[in-house]
Symmetry: C2
Subunit: 358 residues, 2 copies
């Protein structure tokens, strides 16, 4: 188990004697299975939680180099990642649920034009924005997903409306949009979503396809996602995306697929993936990482690494994941040169990173 | 491992001494990993294959009793299951691929008005037919799926067009219909799909919902599906459905979700599921059965039984699966009173069954 992927669980903000800390962490982890009901009832705004809380987020993975990045853009990306991680962590620190923390982080990432989700999403081959999102809670394995939706400012809130209010798990297209409208969610015009950067990107891709030799852009899969552990010992995971640039109208990647792009189970871990979606679907990546823990007895980092740097690398499946277990350990492996990512572990420390060597 | 779920692998149509049979079966299973290329190249219509071939199909699972069944309807169902199993098996016997066998069986089940797929599919709450289908091949983990499609006579052929010709795995709605049209697939009017039985069923459900006390019909999840092992040692799985009766427009169940309703991997097994889709998505049922073999070292029947009669029964997830491993062993567990099913194992014997006590 590579130590680099682990954050040793320590109860934050408590002056414990060093020897008491591991015992307390173990006790907390033993309380996890029975704490589902407590989580539902827990009011936000309580006194700071004594149990470990943690959050990790991503903003996509792919080919990225310092040479191709301007200082201004890098600063905007780091600021957006910092803001989203802190917003989610604040929810957790105040006793809120992992579901609320994941939602808080992802709605900010959806609004940030730097990432491929919500505002700033990539365009389909027809020049439209078509978005997917999914959410899952680990204490009850409830899930909600929407795919191929247009105009919804926060697709992750549409996924949440499906999770909380619908007997179904997945709604697509206009049926999903109707559901979001019924839930009172905010809608925006196409103009609000489409940034000049994305319009230029599509033009470049179309020219490349029209050329004799097809030249792909450096692959970049800029899904956003979050995983969180709350003070009640519950996990949640969520993912939101505009999909692949220049994708065929109607194409659905791994992001809204429970098991592929998103999975959460208190018995193992919470995972949000970002990468070449077709490979992530065929290898059921998010669930596979959890199953490595429950079925094969692997640790979180071992299982996540085996899938991302073993299985996926062998078949050419570019991308990465963020994963978090019920003790607050975080793994963020990726097999691409970079992944936008941030985490606040059980020690309360914020880490923000972009490149592979950070 | 309950013996009832197993068909001991025996090479068919060969006068072998009894002691040679297990050794030969083992040898065949060792040849599986390297046989992917051979399968692609194998022309149909070759001499009968020496390797074991097998197929299993289902036409849905749910509450069914002999009292509620007419002799005429039962005869039609058994005849349709027999025809589909034999059609798939004929492909395998002639050296065809597992993918061709699965497709041959499912297209027949889609045309049969007795089953909830293609013609005879259930109606959405808006009185329309919206269909889903998926396919996967076990030697290369290629997959194709369509969801929320209308008018395509054979949704399983649309899934196949995505598998074979598209860089994507999943297409939904009009994007999927466009792809099917481009592939030259046959389209039919709504009238062709909607049977009098389904119209009456929707009326009953609507009346029940309008009534003071909501009375659900006896739950019945009549997806169709097939799994096959070809003479080249390759597995394939496919599933096709009209979804839940009176479902919300845009709802997608487990059938088109790779990992939930369909999975195939030569290293473990091929699975097609039928049941209350939301549970099958949240528990990643088809992949979970395969992962039980690869990650936990379980046998096919043990893993399938643990998921269907353990995991799903505990959470109230009604349904069943058909599963087939690379040695031709078949498991068909279900936790409902009945499941329409048929199989032709490696011994070449046809079994057709409807009720739980058969």
């Amino acid at each position: 188990m590579p130590a680099a992927f682990l954050t040793t669980p320590r109860p934050p903000r408590r002056p414990c004697a060093p020897l008491l800390a591991p015992a307390l962490a173990l006790l907390m982890s033993m309380l996890v299975p029975g704490s589902g009901a407590a989580a539902d009832a827990a009011p936000a705004g309580d006194a700071p939680a004594a149990s470990p809380v943690a959050i990790a987020i991503h903003g996509g993975a792919g080919t990225i180099s310092r040479e191709a990045m301007t200082p201004e853009r890098e600063a905007r990306i780091r600021a957006a990642l910092t803001e989203a991680a802190r917003a989610g962590h604040a929810v957790l620190r105040e006793g809120g649920t992992a579901l609320d923390a994941v939602t808080a982080a992802i709605t900010l990432l959806e609004d940030a034009p730097e990432f491929n989700a919500g505002r700033g999403a990539v365009l389909t081959s027809e020049g439209r924005v078509e978005m997917d999102a999914s959410l899952m809670t680990g204490h009850d394995l409830e899930a909600g997903a929407v795919a191929g939706v247009r105009g919804i400012r926060h697709p992750i809130l549409a996924a949440r409306a499906v999770l909380e209010d619908s007997p179904h798990v997945m709604l697509v297209g206009r049926g999903a949009e109707d559901w979001a409208r019924r839930a009172g969610l905010e809608f925006k015009d196409d103009d609000w979503f489409i940034t000049p950067f994305r319009s230029e990107q599509l033009e470049r891709l179309r020219s490349a396809e029209a050329g004799a030799a097809r030249q792909d852009e450096a692959p970049w899969y800029s899904t956003v996602g979050a995983v969180a552990l709350d003070a009640h010992g519950n996990l949640a995971a969520g993912t939101s995306t505009g999909g692949m640039s220049n994708k065929r109208f109607g194409r659905v990647g791994d992001s809204p697929i429970i098991g592929a792009g998103t999975y959460a189970d208190n018995a193992s871990c919470a995972v949000s993936a970002t990468g070449h979606g077709e490979f992530f679907i065929r290898h059921v990546v998010a669930y596979r990482i959890c199953a490595g823990m429950t079925l094969a007895g692997q640790g979180l980092a071992e299982s996540a690494d085996a899938v991302v740097n073993g299985l996926l690398t062998e078949v050419g499946g570019d991308g990465g994941v963020i994963a978090l277990d019920a003790r607050g350990r975080i793994a963020m492996p990726f097999n691409t040169p970079g992944m936008y990512r941030a985490r606040i572990g059980v020690d309360g420390r914020l880490d923000v990173a972009i490149y592979g060597d950070e």
